[in-house]
Protein backbone atom coordinates (compact mmCIF):
# COMPACT_ATOMS: atom_id res chain seq x y z
CA UNK A 1 0.00 0.00 0.00
CA UNK A 2 2.78 2.31 1.07
CA UNK A 3 4.70 1.40 -2.04
CA UNK A 4 1.72 2.18 -4.32
CA UNK A 5 1.21 5.54 -2.57
CA UNK A 6 4.86 6.38 -3.07
CA UNK A 7 4.71 5.51 -6.76
CA UNK A 8 1.54 7.57 -7.29
CA UNK A 9 3.08 10.51 -5.49
CA UNK A 10 6.24 10.27 -7.55
CA UNK A 11 4.19 10.14 -10.77
CA UNK A 12 2.15 13.16 -9.66
CA UNK A 13 5.30 15.14 -8.96
CA UNK A 14 6.80 14.14 -12.30
CA UNK A 15 3.57 15.11 -14.05
CA UNK A 16 3.43 18.44 -12.29
CA UNK A 17 7.05 19.21 -13.06
CA UNK A 18 6.52 18.17 -16.66
CA UNK A 19 3.52 20.43 -16.92
CA UNK A 20 5.52 23.34 -15.58
CA UNK A 21 8.37 22.65 -17.99
CA UNK A 22 5.89 22.21 -20.80
CA UNK A 23 4.29 25.57 -19.98
CA UNK A 24 7.73 27.12 -19.92
CA UNK A 25 8.55 25.53 -23.27
CA UNK A 26 5.25 26.72 -24.78
CA UNK A 27 5.93 30.21 -23.52
CA UNK A 28 9.37 30.10 -25.13
CA UNK A 29 7.90 28.92 -28.41
CA UNK A 30 5.21 31.60 -28.23
CA UNK A 31 7.83 34.25 -27.69
CA UNK A 32 9.93 32.90 -30.54
CA UNK A 33 6.91 32.87 -32.81
CA UNK A 34 5.99 36.37 -31.71
CA UNK A 35 9.57 37.46 -32.43
CA UNK A 36 9.47 35.89 -35.84
CA UNK A 37 6.13 37.57 -36.51
CA UNK A 38 7.65 40.89 -35.54
CA UNK A 39 10.69 40.31 -37.73
CA UNK A 40 8.49 39.43 -40.68
CA UNK A 41 6.41 42.55 -40.06
CA UNK A 42 9.57 44.65 -39.82
CA UNK A 43 11.00 43.15 -43.00
CA UNK A 44 7.71 43.66 -44.76
CA UNK A 45 7.67 47.27 -43.69
CA UNK A 46 11.29 47.77 -44.62
CA UNK A 47 11.23 46.14 -48.04
CA UNK A 48 7.68 47.17 -48.72
CA UNK A 49 8.73 50.76 -48.25
CA UNK A 50 11.78 50.27 -50.42
CA UNK A 51 9.68 48.60 -53.08
CA UNK A 52 7.21 51.45 -53.05
CA UNK A 53 10.06 53.78 -54.02
CA UNK A 54 10.21 52.01 -57.38
CA UNK A 55 6.51 51.46 -57.76
CA UNK A 56 5.38 53.81 -60.53
CA UNK A 57 2.76 56.36 -59.77
CA UNK A 58 0.37 57.86 -62.26
CA UNK A 59 2.66 60.82 -62.95
CA UNK A 60 5.63 59.84 -65.08
CA UNK A 61 8.55 62.13 -65.70
CA UNK A 62 11.47 61.68 -68.05
CA UNK A 63 14.50 63.71 -69.03
CA UNK A 64 15.65 63.28 -72.60
CA UNK A 65 17.44 65.44 -75.15
CA UNK A 66 20.70 65.59 -77.00
CA UNK A 67 24.21 66.97 -76.91
CA UNK A 68 26.56 67.82 -79.72
CA UNK A 69 30.02 69.22 -80.22
CA UNK A 70 32.56 69.25 -83.00
CA UNK A 71 35.18 70.93 -85.14
CA UNK A 72 34.81 73.08 -88.26
CA UNK A 73 37.31 74.05 -90.93
CA UNK A 74 35.73 76.72 -93.12
CA UNK A 75 37.39 78.08 -96.27
CA UNK A 76 35.90 81.13 -97.92
CA UNK A 77 37.33 83.94 -100.04
CA UNK A 78 40.89 82.72 -99.57
CA UNK A 79 40.70 82.53 -95.81
CA UNK A 80 40.39 79.48 -93.66
CA UNK A 81 39.09 79.34 -90.11
CA UNK A 82 39.57 76.43 -87.75
CA UNK A 83 37.30 76.20 -84.75
CA UNK A 84 36.07 73.78 -82.20
CA UNK A 85 32.41 74.58 -82.00
CA UNK A 86 30.76 75.02 -78.66
CA UNK A 87 28.97 72.16 -77.08
CA UNK A 88 25.27 72.43 -77.58
CA UNK A 89 22.93 70.75 -75.15
CA UNK A 90 19.19 70.48 -75.56
CA UNK A 91 17.48 68.91 -72.56
CA UNK A 92 13.92 67.78 -73.24
CA UNK A 93 11.54 67.41 -70.32
CA UNK A 94 8.71 64.95 -70.80
CA UNK A 95 5.89 64.62 -68.30
CA UNK A 96 3.02 62.18 -68.68
CA UNK A 97 0.46 63.22 -66.12
CA UNK A 98 -2.16 60.71 -67.21
CA UNK A 99 -3.21 58.72 -70.26
CA UNK A 100 -4.65 61.94 -71.67
CA UNK A 101 -2.36 64.71 -70.44
CA UNK A 102 1.22 65.20 -71.57
CA UNK A 103 3.77 68.00 -71.35
CA UNK A 104 7.00 68.48 -73.28
CA UNK A 105 9.61 71.23 -73.22
CA UNK A 106 12.98 71.63 -74.91
CA UNK A 107 15.67 74.02 -73.80
CA UNK A 108 18.34 75.02 -76.27
CA UNK A 109 21.71 75.70 -74.73
CA UNK A 110 24.78 76.55 -76.74
CA UNK A 111 28.14 78.12 -76.08
CA UNK A 112 28.72 80.79 -78.73
CA UNK A 113 31.05 83.81 -78.75
CA UNK A 114 32.21 83.19 -75.21
CA UNK A 115 28.65 83.18 -73.94
CA UNK A 116 26.28 80.44 -72.97
CA UNK A 117 22.93 81.11 -74.58
CA UNK A 118 19.85 79.36 -73.31
CA UNK A 119 16.61 79.45 -75.26
CA UNK A 120 13.25 77.75 -75.21
CA UNK A 121 12.85 75.46 -78.19
CA UNK A 122 9.30 74.51 -77.33
CA UNK A 123 7.01 74.03 -74.35
CA UNK A 124 3.51 72.73 -74.78
CA UNK A 125 0.78 70.72 -73.13
CA UNK A 126 -1.16 68.04 -74.97
CA UNK A 127 -4.63 66.69 -74.31
CA UNK A 128 -5.62 63.44 -75.99
CA UNK A 129 -9.32 63.90 -76.76
CA UNK A 130 -9.77 60.46 -78.29
CA UNK A 131 -7.81 58.04 -80.46
CA UNK A 132 -8.18 60.32 -83.50
CA UNK A 133 -7.87 63.82 -82.05
CA UNK A 134 -5.09 65.36 -79.96
CA UNK A 135 -5.04 69.01 -78.97
CA UNK A 136 -1.98 70.87 -77.78
CA UNK A 137 -1.24 74.44 -76.84
CA UNK A 138 1.84 76.48 -76.07
CA UNK A 139 5.02 76.83 -78.05
CA UNK A 140 5.45 73.96 -80.48
CA UNK A 141 7.45 73.05 -83.58
CA UNK A 142 5.40 73.96 -86.63
CA UNK A 143 4.54 70.99 -88.84
CA UNK A 144 5.64 72.77 -92.00
CA UNK A 145 7.23 69.96 -93.94
CA UNK A 146 9.06 67.35 -91.91
CA UNK A 147 12.58 68.64 -91.31
CA UNK A 148 11.93 71.19 -88.58
CA UNK A 149 9.55 69.09 -86.55
CA UNK A 150 11.09 65.65 -86.87
CA UNK A 151 14.59 65.69 -88.32
CA UNK A 152 16.49 68.69 -87.00
CA UNK A 153 18.04 67.29 -83.74
CA UNK A 154 21.76 66.73 -84.15
CA UNK A 155 21.53 63.02 -83.31
CA UNK A 156 18.76 62.51 -85.91
CA UNK A 157 20.03 64.78 -88.70
CA UNK A 158 22.37 62.64 -90.77
CA UNK A 159 24.26 65.70 -91.98
CA UNK A 160 26.42 68.15 -90.03
CA UNK A 161 24.31 71.16 -90.98
CA UNK A 162 20.76 72.12 -91.83
CA UNK A 163 19.70 72.48 -95.47
CA UNK A 164 19.63 75.93 -97.06
CA UNK A 165 16.49 77.87 -96.23
CA UNK A 166 16.09 76.49 -92.70
CA UNK A 167 17.16 78.08 -89.45
CA UNK A 168 18.34 81.69 -89.12
CA UNK A 169 17.03 83.89 -91.97
CA UNK A 170 15.28 80.85 -93.39
CA UNK A 171 12.03 80.79 -95.32
CA UNK A 172 10.37 78.01 -93.31
CA UNK A 173 8.84 78.51 -89.86
CA UNK A 174 10.40 76.92 -86.78
CA UNK A 175 8.47 77.07 -83.51
CA UNK A 176 5.61 79.37 -82.66
CA UNK A 177 2.94 79.98 -80.04
CA UNK A 178 -0.60 78.81 -80.57
CA UNK A 179 -3.03 75.94 -80.61
CA UNK A 180 -2.87 72.76 -82.67
CA UNK A 181 -5.08 69.78 -83.45
CA UNK A 182 -3.48 66.60 -84.78
CA UNK A 183 -4.10 62.92 -85.20
CA UNK A 184 -3.58 59.81 -87.28
CA UNK A 185 -5.79 57.03 -88.59
CA UNK A 186 -6.00 54.32 -91.23
CA UNK A 187 -8.29 54.20 -94.21
CA UNK A 188 -7.87 50.66 -95.36
CA UNK A 189 -4.18 50.04 -95.73
CA UNK A 190 -3.43 53.73 -96.22
CA UNK A 191 -2.40 55.70 -93.15
CA UNK A 192 -3.14 59.38 -92.88
CA UNK A 193 -2.08 61.99 -90.39
CA UNK A 194 -3.12 65.58 -90.05
CA UNK A 195 -2.13 68.73 -88.16
CA UNK A 196 -4.03 72.01 -88.15
CA UNK A 197 -3.00 75.03 -86.13
CA UNK A 198 -3.57 78.67 -85.28
CA UNK A 199 -0.45 80.56 -84.21
CA UNK A 200 0.83 84.11 -83.81
CA UNK A 201 2.62 83.60 -87.08
CA UNK A 202 5.39 85.34 -89.00
CA UNK A 203 5.92 89.09 -89.03
CA UNK A 204 7.06 91.30 -91.88
CA UNK A 205 10.39 93.06 -91.49
CA UNK A 206 9.86 96.52 -92.92
CA UNK A 207 13.49 97.59 -92.91
CA UNK A 208 13.18 100.16 -90.13
CA UNK A 209 15.62 98.32 -87.88
CA UNK A 210 17.55 96.37 -90.49
CA UNK A 211 17.15 97.99 -93.95
CA UNK A 212 18.93 95.15 -95.71
CA UNK A 213 16.26 92.71 -94.49
CA UNK A 214 13.17 94.65 -95.67
CA UNK A 215 10.53 92.20 -96.87
CA UNK A 216 11.86 89.23 -94.92
CA UNK A 217 9.63 87.23 -92.63
CA UNK A 218 10.48 86.95 -88.97
CA UNK A 219 9.33 83.66 -87.42
CA UNK A 220 8.65 82.66 -83.83
CA UNK A 221 7.67 85.98 -82.26
CA UNK A 222 6.32 85.81 -78.73
CA UNK A 223 3.81 88.61 -79.29
CA UNK A 224 1.86 89.12 -82.46
CA UNK A 225 1.98 92.40 -84.39
CA UNK A 226 -1.62 92.15 -85.57
CA UNK A 227 -4.90 90.35 -84.78
CA UNK A 228 -4.72 88.32 -88.01
CA UNK A 229 -3.43 84.98 -86.75
CA UNK A 230 -1.61 82.53 -88.96
CA UNK A 231 -3.59 79.44 -89.90
CA UNK A 232 -2.00 76.37 -91.36
CA UNK A 233 -1.67 72.65 -91.42
CA UNK A 234 -0.13 69.57 -92.88
CA UNK A 235 -1.50 66.32 -94.23
CA UNK A 236 0.74 63.27 -94.36
CA UNK A 237 -0.11 60.20 -96.44
CA UNK A 238 1.44 56.75 -96.19
CA UNK A 239 0.29 55.09 -99.41
CA UNK A 240 2.12 51.84 -98.66
CA UNK A 241 1.00 49.52 -95.90
CA UNK A 242 4.56 49.16 -94.55
CA UNK A 243 4.81 52.93 -93.80
CA UNK A 244 8.01 53.17 -95.86
CA UNK A 245 6.80 56.14 -97.91
CA UNK A 246 5.29 59.34 -96.56
CA UNK A 247 4.18 62.30 -98.63
CA UNK A 248 3.41 65.52 -96.81
CA UNK A 249 1.60 68.67 -97.94
CA UNK A 250 1.80 71.79 -95.79
CA UNK A 251 0.38 75.28 -96.03
CA UNK A 252 0.11 78.44 -93.98
CA UNK A 253 -1.48 81.83 -94.52
CA UNK A 254 -1.00 84.84 -92.26
CA UNK A 255 -1.33 88.57 -91.99
CA UNK A 256 2.24 89.72 -91.41
CA UNK A 257 2.20 93.53 -91.37
CA UNK A 258 2.08 95.66 -88.23
CA UNK A 259 -1.42 96.63 -87.16
CA UNK A 260 -2.25 100.22 -88.14
CA UNK A 261 0.80 100.60 -90.36
CA UNK A 262 1.10 100.95 -94.13
CA UNK A 263 1.84 97.21 -94.16
CA UNK A 264 -1.27 96.11 -92.25
CA UNK A 265 -2.83 94.48 -95.34
CA UNK A 266 0.25 92.51 -96.32
CA UNK A 267 -0.23 88.76 -96.18
CA UNK A 268 2.11 85.81 -96.57
CA UNK A 269 1.32 82.41 -98.03
CA UNK A 270 3.66 79.51 -97.48
CA UNK A 271 3.59 76.01 -98.93
CA UNK A 272 5.74 72.92 -98.57
CA UNK A 273 5.88 69.41 -99.94
CA UNK A 274 7.93 66.77 -98.21
CA UNK A 275 8.86 63.18 -98.89
CA UNK A 276 10.30 60.42 -96.77
CA UNK A 277 11.19 56.95 -98.00
CA UNK A 278 12.93 54.51 -95.68
CA UNK A 279 13.30 50.89 -96.68
CA UNK A 280 15.48 47.92 -95.85
CA UNK A 281 17.12 46.68 -99.04
CA UNK A 282 17.80 43.04 -98.29
CA UNK A 283 19.78 42.48 -101.48
CA UNK A 284 22.21 45.22 -100.35
CA UNK A 285 21.90 44.36 -96.67
CA UNK A 286 21.34 48.05 -96.13
CA UNK A 287 18.76 50.58 -95.11
CA UNK A 288 18.01 53.29 -97.66
CA UNK A 289 16.78 56.61 -96.32
CA UNK A 290 15.59 59.35 -98.69
CA UNK A 291 14.28 62.69 -97.48
CA UNK A 292 13.23 65.74 -99.47
CA UNK A 293 11.36 68.96 -98.90
CA UNK A 294 10.37 71.91 -101.07
CA UNK A 295 9.46 75.25 -99.46
CA UNK A 296 7.72 78.18 -101.10
CA UNK A 297 7.03 81.58 -99.59
CA UNK A 298 5.06 84.42 -101.13
CA UNK A 299 4.65 87.77 -99.39
CA UNK A 300 2.21 90.39 -100.62
CA UNK A 301 3.30 93.54 -102.44
CA UNK A 302 4.74 96.32 -100.31
CA UNK A 303 7.00 99.32 -100.71
CA UNK A 304 10.11 99.65 -98.62
CA UNK A 305 12.18 102.75 -97.94
CA UNK A 306 15.48 102.98 -99.78
CA UNK A 307 18.20 102.91 -97.11
CA UNK A 308 20.26 106.04 -96.49
CA UNK A 309 18.00 108.11 -98.75
CA UNK A 310 16.61 111.44 -97.60
CA UNK A 311 14.16 111.96 -100.46
CA UNK A 312 11.63 109.37 -99.30
CA UNK A 313 12.34 107.01 -102.15
CA UNK A 314 10.75 103.56 -102.00
CA UNK A 315 11.39 100.33 -103.84
CA UNK A 316 9.47 97.10 -104.26
CA UNK A 317 10.09 93.61 -105.60
CA UNK A 318 8.28 90.36 -106.23
CA UNK A 319 8.60 88.88 -102.77
CA UNK A 320 8.75 85.18 -103.60
CA UNK A 321 11.27 82.75 -102.11
CA UNK A 322 11.75 79.06 -102.57
CA UNK A 323 14.16 76.38 -101.49
CA UNK A 324 14.50 72.65 -101.40
CA UNK A 325 16.72 69.80 -100.37
CA UNK A 326 17.11 66.19 -101.38
CA UNK A 327 19.00 63.83 -99.11
CA UNK A 328 19.90 60.18 -99.42
CA UNK A 329 21.61 57.95 -96.87
CA UNK A 330 22.67 54.33 -97.02
CA UNK A 331 23.67 52.25 -94.06
CA UNK A 332 24.69 48.59 -94.37
CA UNK A 333 23.14 47.78 -91.03
CA UNK A 334 22.18 44.24 -92.08
CA UNK A 335 25.74 43.01 -92.76
CA UNK A 336 27.44 40.78 -90.23
CA UNK A 337 30.62 42.81 -89.85
CA UNK A 338 30.32 44.80 -86.64
CA UNK A 339 32.32 47.75 -88.00
CA UNK A 340 30.71 48.18 -91.40
CA UNK A 341 27.18 47.81 -90.04
CA UNK A 342 27.78 50.97 -88.00
CA UNK A 343 28.89 53.05 -90.99
CA UNK A 344 26.57 55.27 -92.95
CA UNK A 345 27.12 57.42 -96.00
CA UNK A 346 24.84 60.35 -96.65
CA UNK A 347 24.60 63.03 -99.31
CA UNK A 348 22.43 66.10 -99.66
CA UNK A 349 21.81 68.79 -102.24
CA UNK A 350 19.97 71.94 -101.29
CA UNK A 351 19.19 75.22 -102.99
CA UNK A 352 17.65 78.52 -102.01
CA UNK A 353 16.29 81.42 -104.04
CA UNK A 354 15.27 84.62 -102.29
CA UNK A 355 13.52 87.53 -104.07
CA UNK A 356 15.28 89.18 -106.97
CA UNK A 357 15.57 92.90 -106.37
CA UNK A 358 15.51 92.61 -102.61
CA UNK A 359 18.52 93.60 -100.53
CA UNK A 360 18.66 90.03 -99.23
CA UNK A 361 18.68 88.43 -102.65
CA UNK A 362 20.67 85.25 -102.74
CA UNK A 363 20.64 82.05 -104.74
CA UNK A 364 23.11 79.63 -103.23
CA UNK A 365 23.33 75.92 -103.88
CA UNK A 366 25.01 73.44 -101.62
CA UNK A 367 26.39 69.90 -101.83
CA UNK A 368 27.12 68.02 -98.66
CA UNK A 369 28.41 64.51 -98.00
CA UNK A 370 28.85 62.77 -94.70
CA UNK A 371 30.45 59.60 -93.44
CA UNK A 372 28.86 58.66 -90.14
CA UNK A 373 29.78 56.07 -87.54
CA UNK A 374 27.02 55.00 -85.15
CA UNK A 375 28.29 53.92 -81.74
CA UNK A 376 24.74 52.89 -80.92
CA UNK A 377 21.28 53.85 -82.09
CA UNK A 378 21.52 57.39 -80.72
CA UNK A 379 25.20 58.35 -80.69
CA UNK A 380 26.99 59.23 -83.89
CA UNK A 381 30.31 60.62 -85.07
CA UNK A 382 29.81 62.56 -88.31
CA UNK A 383 32.60 63.49 -90.72
CA UNK A 384 31.30 65.92 -93.29
CA UNK A 385 32.27 68.03 -96.25
CA UNK A 386 30.05 70.62 -97.85
CA UNK A 387 30.53 73.18 -100.56
CA UNK A 388 28.27 76.16 -101.08
CA UNK A 389 28.28 78.29 -104.19
CA UNK A 390 26.15 80.74 -106.13
CA UNK A 391 24.90 84.15 -105.17
CA UNK A 392 26.01 84.56 -101.61
CA UNK A 393 24.73 85.99 -98.41
CA UNK A 394 22.57 89.06 -98.40
CA UNK A 395 25.20 91.21 -96.73
CA UNK A 396 27.55 91.06 -99.69
CA UNK A 397 25.23 90.06 -102.51
CA UNK A 398 28.15 88.63 -104.41
CA UNK A 399 29.02 85.18 -105.59
CA UNK A 400 30.61 83.01 -103.01
CA UNK A 401 32.29 79.67 -102.71
CA UNK A 402 32.54 78.25 -99.26
CA UNK A 403 34.00 74.86 -98.42
CA UNK A 404 33.63 73.32 -95.04
CA UNK A 405 35.00 70.22 -93.34
CA UNK A 406 33.14 69.25 -90.22
CA UNK A 407 33.44 66.78 -87.38
CA UNK A 408 30.40 66.31 -85.18
CA UNK A 409 29.72 64.13 -82.21
CA UNK A 410 26.02 63.95 -81.43
CA UNK A 411 24.51 62.04 -78.58
CA UNK A 412 20.85 61.55 -77.85
CA UNK A 413 19.82 60.74 -74.30
Amino acid sequence: MMKRTTILSALSIILAVSTVFAQDSLSTYDRQIANLDQQVTDLDRKFGKQFSLFKPGKSKFMLRGFFFTGFDMVSSEGETDYNFIGGGINPVLLYKQSERLFFEAEFEGEYVNNEFNLGLGYANATFVVNKYITVRGGKFLIPFGSFTEKLHPAWINKMSSTPLGFGHDGIAPGADLGLEVRGAFHIGAVKLNYQAYVINGPQLKTGVDEPEEAGMLKFGSYTDNNPDKAVGGRIGIFPMSNSSLELGFSGMTAGVGDKGSAYSKVRANLFAVDLSYVKSLNFMKSVLDIKAQYNYSQVGDANYAVPDDTTDLFYDFNNVSSGYYVQMALRPSLVDNNFFKRLEIAGRFSALQTPEGSLWEQAPTQWAVNLNYWFNWRTVLKLGYQTTGGLGDHDSGTSITQNMFTVRLAMGF
Binding site: K60, K96, L151, R182, A184, S241, S243, W377
Partner: protein, 89 residues
Protein backbone atom coordinates in the same frame (compact mmCIF):
# COMPACT_ATOMS: atom_id res chain seq x y z
CA UNK B 1 -23.05 47.83 -128.19
CA UNK B 2 -25.05 46.01 -125.56
CA UNK B 3 -22.49 43.20 -125.47
CA UNK B 4 -19.65 45.68 -125.01
CA UNK B 5 -21.50 47.36 -122.16
CA UNK B 6 -22.05 44.02 -120.44
CA UNK B 7 -18.41 43.02 -120.87
CA UNK B 8 -17.15 46.33 -119.48
CA UNK B 9 -19.63 46.12 -116.60
CA UNK B 10 -18.42 42.64 -115.71
CA UNK B 11 -14.79 43.68 -116.02
CA UNK B 12 -15.46 46.77 -113.91
CA UNK B 13 -17.18 44.72 -111.22
CA UNK B 14 -14.34 42.20 -111.27
CA UNK B 15 -11.79 44.99 -110.88
CA UNK B 16 -13.80 46.57 -108.07
CA UNK B 17 -14.14 43.23 -106.31
CA UNK B 18 -10.41 42.61 -106.63
CA UNK B 19 -9.69 46.09 -105.26
CA UNK B 20 -12.08 45.69 -102.32
CA UNK B 21 -10.73 42.22 -101.57
CA UNK B 22 -7.20 43.58 -101.81
CA UNK B 23 -8.02 46.50 -99.50
CA UNK B 24 -9.64 44.18 -97.00
CA UNK B 25 -6.62 41.89 -97.06
CA UNK B 26 -4.30 44.87 -96.68
CA UNK B 27 -6.40 46.28 -93.83
CA UNK B 28 -6.29 42.96 -92.03
CA UNK B 29 -2.53 42.80 -92.59
CA UNK B 30 -2.12 46.26 -91.08
CA UNK B 31 -4.27 45.37 -88.07
CA UNK B 32 -2.39 42.12 -87.56
CA UNK B 33 1.04 43.77 -87.37
CA UNK B 34 3.00 42.97 -84.24
CA UNK B 35 4.61 45.50 -81.96
CA UNK B 36 8.04 44.39 -83.13
CA UNK B 37 7.08 44.93 -86.77
CA UNK B 38 5.60 48.36 -86.06
CA UNK B 39 8.70 49.28 -84.04
CA UNK B 40 10.91 48.34 -87.00
CA UNK B 41 8.76 50.16 -89.54
CA UNK B 42 7.96 53.39 -87.72
CA UNK B 43 11.00 54.33 -85.63
CA UNK B 44 13.42 54.28 -88.56
CA UNK B 45 11.33 56.79 -90.45
CA UNK B 46 13.16 59.47 -88.44
CA UNK B 47 15.92 57.79 -86.43
CA UNK B 48 17.48 54.41 -85.75
CA UNK B 49 15.18 51.96 -84.03
CA UNK B 50 15.88 52.18 -80.29
CA UNK B 51 17.12 49.20 -78.37
CA UNK B 52 14.39 47.95 -75.98
CA UNK B 53 16.82 47.87 -73.07
CA UNK B 54 17.42 51.62 -73.36
CA UNK B 55 14.59 52.52 -71.01
CA UNK B 56 12.53 51.03 -68.20
CA UNK B 57 8.87 50.11 -68.56
CA UNK B 58 7.78 53.42 -67.07
CA UNK B 59 10.13 55.38 -69.31
CA UNK B 60 8.86 53.59 -72.40
CA UNK B 61 5.34 54.68 -71.51
CA UNK B 62 6.48 58.31 -71.43
CA UNK B 63 8.67 58.06 -74.54
CA UNK B 64 5.89 56.17 -76.32
CA UNK B 65 3.33 58.88 -75.69
CA UNK B 66 5.86 61.48 -76.79
CA UNK B 67 6.36 59.63 -80.07
CA UNK B 68 2.63 59.08 -80.54
CA UNK B 69 2.24 62.85 -80.61
CA UNK B 70 5.42 63.81 -82.46
CA UNK B 71 5.50 61.05 -85.07
CA UNK B 72 1.73 60.86 -85.56
CA UNK B 73 1.42 57.22 -84.56
CA UNK B 74 -2.06 55.82 -84.12
CA UNK B 75 -3.15 54.76 -80.66
CA UNK B 76 -3.10 51.12 -81.72
CA UNK B 77 0.44 51.38 -83.12
CA UNK B 78 1.68 53.13 -79.99
CA UNK B 79 0.17 50.55 -77.64
CA UNK B 80 1.65 47.65 -79.58
CA UNK B 81 5.11 49.24 -79.82
CA UNK B 82 5.21 50.09 -76.11
CA UNK B 83 4.04 46.59 -75.16
CA UNK B 84 6.77 45.12 -77.34
CA UNK B 85 9.50 47.33 -75.88
CA UNK B 86 8.37 46.64 -72.32
CA UNK B 87 8.36 42.90 -72.98
CA UNK B 88 11.77 42.92 -74.64
CA UNK B 89 13.72 45.23 -72.34
Amino acid sequence: MKKTTIIFTILGMAALSAYITGCKTQTEMVKAKSGAQLWGENCIRCHNAPSPDTFSDVEWEVAGMHMQIRANLTEDETTKIIDFLKAAN
